[in-house]
Amino acid sequence: MSEAKRGYVRPLDLKHGRVDLTHGSGGRSMVQLISELFAKHLGNEYLGQGNDGAVLPAPTLEGRAGRLVMSTDCHVVSPLFFPGGDIGCLSVHGTVNDVAVMGATPLYLAAGFVLEEGFPLADLARIVESMAHAAAEAGVPVVTGDTKVVERGKGDGVFITTTGVGILPDGLELGGARARPGDAVIISGSMGDHGVAIMSKRENLSFDAPIESDTVALNGLIAAMLATGADLRCLRDPTRGGLAATLNEIAGQSGVGVMLHEKAIPVKPVVSAACEFLGLDPLYVANEGKLIAICAPADADRLLAAMRAHPLGREASRIGEVIVDDHHFVQLTTAFGGKRIVDWLAGDQLPRIC
């Protein structure tokens, strides 16, 4: 018997269908969208209950009580599909990483979808499947969610907001205000991959060598780093604004300066070439699968070794140190031996004319 006849309800046409306003109306269409798409892919014992919220067991970490860490992030990336990923996996990775860099073990995610009328269901299905894959890989289920549909022209296809909850063991304190002069600055890998991948697609630029986003969940790498017992002061994922913005933020929070060494900062040749072509600086370009660690100098080598032993930290590099500086500048010794500031960016990076 066909699906339509069984319940007198025609199943979602995920191949040719489009989001319409009924998918956000609270009626059968919305329930169908949730059950046939969101629950099908993201389903678990909590989401499956279909309640307005999820009741979760009180978290403990290895038998010890901890504190909850919660983080939320809106994802509005354009294009929705890009080399190396899409808005779906990005929305999982982004929030898992935000929770994990607090030192917490991410436990659960909530996802809010704003869909635009007319959006193809086939694309939405690809996005949800990608989210499901990313959530499974990270080991962090989506336990509750919400869907709204806006009229055509009032959205950009799909916006996804994800909120993550994690548990932080007592005794572990990481934060942007904890950097001290002498601390080592370490990054987990090459800079700028995600931003350049997005830009190459957005601006319809094709490069001989493909540039893929580095989007990935970092909770596994972070767990390996924490397991070393190294005296970590701060972890951050350098997303929008890249390495430069993140380090300026930390310098300001901690009231210190940072001295970087250009030669030690890994940038893939293809990313470097694309940035050169576009007149951009890779230090300011977004990453979605990299982290910055500030740690006590004595523990830096041990931490670095643990990072390099993990698949996501193979290119980890010690790129500089925290210094005393009342102006809280991030500086860079260039490959030339000169020095310059790595300043906050004024607005977005825009390609130069010549």
């Binding site: 601006e203 630029l205 030669k263 040749p269 470097s272 070439a273 050169e276 007149g279 600086d281 102006h327 500048f329 500086q331 010794t333 260039t334 490959a335 030339f336 031996g337 000169g338 020095k339 310059r340 500031i341 300043d343 004024a346 607005g347 825009l350 390609p351 130069r352 004319i353 010549c354």
Partner: protein, 375 residues
């Protein structure tokens, strides 16, 4: 990054710095103007000033097309976008140039103007093809580097009868600006610009060649070394300039021989000559009105001239009175000599032209070098 990394070798740079140091004569100072914003950017980004002996001073010239575009021209483009319903296409760093009424193209876009960033004139043509019911205007700025692509776009639009495509032509000429600096009343009045030579533009010279600079070398007795934008190019050019000064020579030398010839790109020059003619005068931001320093679209292509098509009138808008851009662009003053620098005038809130593009003298110093003023 083959062909690029070779020009960023730190060891070679140190050797060049040692050579420059060895050739600098005791008691003598050397001031060289890098005319082009690309060089200003390279000097700041790679911290080249740190490698130079104190006797060598680099003066940042007016060769940034974003910096020298006057407010009135940006106002014209904004007017077209907001009041004439056109799709306005332009290069990226034009978007932030401050205009009248606290606006910029970026802010005009937020107010509903259909303003689109393009990477090439061909993108603008494609937008015109894709939107036959809309007027598409390309806001064309830049020196000789970006002029040939604009000429090609206009000829292509003509060939295709793309009647909804037009251009606001703001292309300016390098040699006129160099003349203006050398003859400026401030320079004569103060006599304080000890300009001992010029680093000639890289990309511009690939189009116009090295011949146009021979006049400056002969007439004003100023050596010119045309250099690429890579840091080693700049260091090598400085060494060549120091040698010319020491030997009392004033010649045009070509460090960028891998891309620049004496005559330049004749094909590109022909295209430009077919489409454009000299403007009698053009206002430059920071340098005021400079005669015969810019191009306009020939009558033959009037249908593609947005100024004619939309009957646009140019209205000059003065810069902030406290702004020292004019003196900075001529090398008479440094960015930090300006009262507005780093106080009211910052990259987030540029008041004067030099703070707009990352290639501008003030923006480059603010972004890359201001720690030196504080430490």
């Amino acid at each position: 990054m083959k062909y690029i990394d070779e020009f960023r070798d730190g060891e070679l740079a140190k050797n060049l710095a040692l050579s420059i140091g060895a050739e600098v004569q005791p008691g003598r100072s050397y001031s060289f103007m890098e005319f082009c914003g690309g060089h200003t950017h390279a000097i700041s980004r790679y911290g080249l000033s740190d490698l130079l002996p104190p006797a060598v001073r680099m003066v940042h010239g007016p060769g940034c097309p974003v910096c020298v575009l006057p407010i009135g021209r940006v106002d014209m483009a904004i007017d077209l976008a907001l009041n004439h319903g056109v799709i306005l296409c332009t290069y990226g760093d034009t978007l932030r140039i401050p205009a009248s009424d606290g606006l910029s193209l970026m802010k005009a876009k937020a107010r509903g103007g259909d303003i689109r960033m393009v990477y090439s004139t061909l993108d603008a043509l494609q937008i015109a093809r894709d939107n036959p019911q809309r007027e598409v205007v390309f806001f064309a700025i830049g020196f000789e580097t970006t002029t040939p692509p604009t000429a090609v776009a206009i000829q292509q639009a003509d060939k295709e009868n793309l009647s909804n495509f037009s251009v606001i032509c703001c292309h300016v000429l390098t040699p006129s600006a160099i003349s203006n600096i050398l003859e400026s009343p401030e320079v004569r009045q103060w006599g304080t610009v000890p300009l001992d030579g010029f680093i000639g533009p890289a990309h511009v010279s690939t189009v116009i060649g090295s011949r146009p600079y021979e006049f400056f070398a002969e007439e004003y007795r100023k050596p010119v070394v045309i250099a690429g934008f890579e840091p080693l190019d700049v260091m090598q050019a400085i060494l060549m300039l120091v040698r010319q000064v020491n030997e009392g020579r004033a010649e045009v030398e070509n460090e960028f021989s891998r891309a620049v010839s004496r005559d330049g790109n004749l094909k590109a020059q022909d295209r430009v000559a077919e489409v454009f003619e000299l403007r009698r005068e053009f206002e430059w931001r920071g340098l005021s009105v400079v005669p015969y320093s810019a191009l306009k679209i020939r009558r033959q292509y009037a249908a593609f001239d947005a100024e004619r098509k939309f009957k646009l009138d140019y209205r000059s808008v003065p810069d902030n009175k406290a702004c020292e851009c004019g003196a900075i662009l001529r090398g008479v003053k440094k960015p930090q000599d300006c009262k507005l620098f780093g106080t009211v005038c910052t990259p987030e809130n540029p008041i004067g032209s030099c703070m707009v593009s990352s290639e501008g003298a003030c923006a480059a110093h603010y972004s890359y070098g201001r720690y030196k003023d504080m430490h």
